[in-house]
């Protein structure tokens, strides 16, 4: 009975954990990497 209770509380805390800030940081990093790649590609094309 106690075990079952613990499982549901873990599941609910994962569900409710707020990852908005992490998500924004990951997306900023992603945009920087894609931007750097296209920057290098643009240099290659323009020279």
């Amino acid at each position: 009975m106690a075990k079952k209770q613990k499982q549901t509380s873990v599941a609910s805390s994962a569900e409710s954990s707020n990852l908005k800030g992490t998500f924004i940081m990951v997306m900023i990093l992603g945009v920087l990497m894609v931007g750097a790649w296209f920057g290098a590609y643009w240099l290659f094309i323009s020279r």
Partner: protein, 166 residues
């Protein structure tokens, strides 16, 4: 396994970028023929003159067709041999018109050198025993310095030349 909605989004983003970049590498290598510049031909570094491209009279700039040029160079510590002009003086500047296609062919007599025409896409490693080639369209006008970008010894910084696109 439970994944948060945001985790699914960034995992998809990461994996999709990986697949896209691998596809681009495959496309560049197998369709466009992008390879290391020195992968095709080997040469005896102690007798580079035996190769047709590196005979003293064939060094430097040659027009092979309308708007197409080739430049043969022998790199050695600490000099780029672009051949000699009509006064028998060593050539230090290569002059080509804007928009021309130039094939640079270069080898080294001694150690590893670099051949970079700074400000253009021409950038090669020059290894003894190998012939490096790079063909480029000179799109932009200007004077571009040729530099050795592989440390080759005490006179490394004195190893330079010039490409002028007019």
């Amino acid at each position: 396994m439970h994944l948060h909605k945001y985790e699914k989004v960034w995992l998809t983003f990461g994996m999709a970028s990986l697949v896209i970049f691998l596809l681009i590498i495959g496309f560049a290598a197998f369709w466009k023929g992008t390879h290391p510049q020195s992968h095709l031909e080997t040469i005896d570094q102690n007798n580079v003159e035996a190769h047709d491209s590196f005979k003293p009279e064939n060094l430097g700039l040659t027009e092979v067709a309308d708007g197409k040029y080739k430049v043969n160079i022998v790199a050695s510590a600490f000099n780029y041999d672009f051949g000699v002009d009509k006064d028998e003086k060593p050539v230090k500047t290569i002059r080509v018109p804007q928009g021309s296609t130039v094939l640079f062919t270069i080898t080294s007599k001694d150690v590893v050198h670099g051949f970079q025409v700074a400000g253009t896409n021409v950038n090669m490693m020059v290894e003894p025993g190998h012939i490096s080639r790079y063909e480029a369209v000179m799109k932009n006008k200007g004077e571009f310095t040729v530099v050795c970008n592989e440390y080759c010894g005490i006179g490394h910084h004195q190893m330079f030349g010039k490409v002028e696109v007019y």
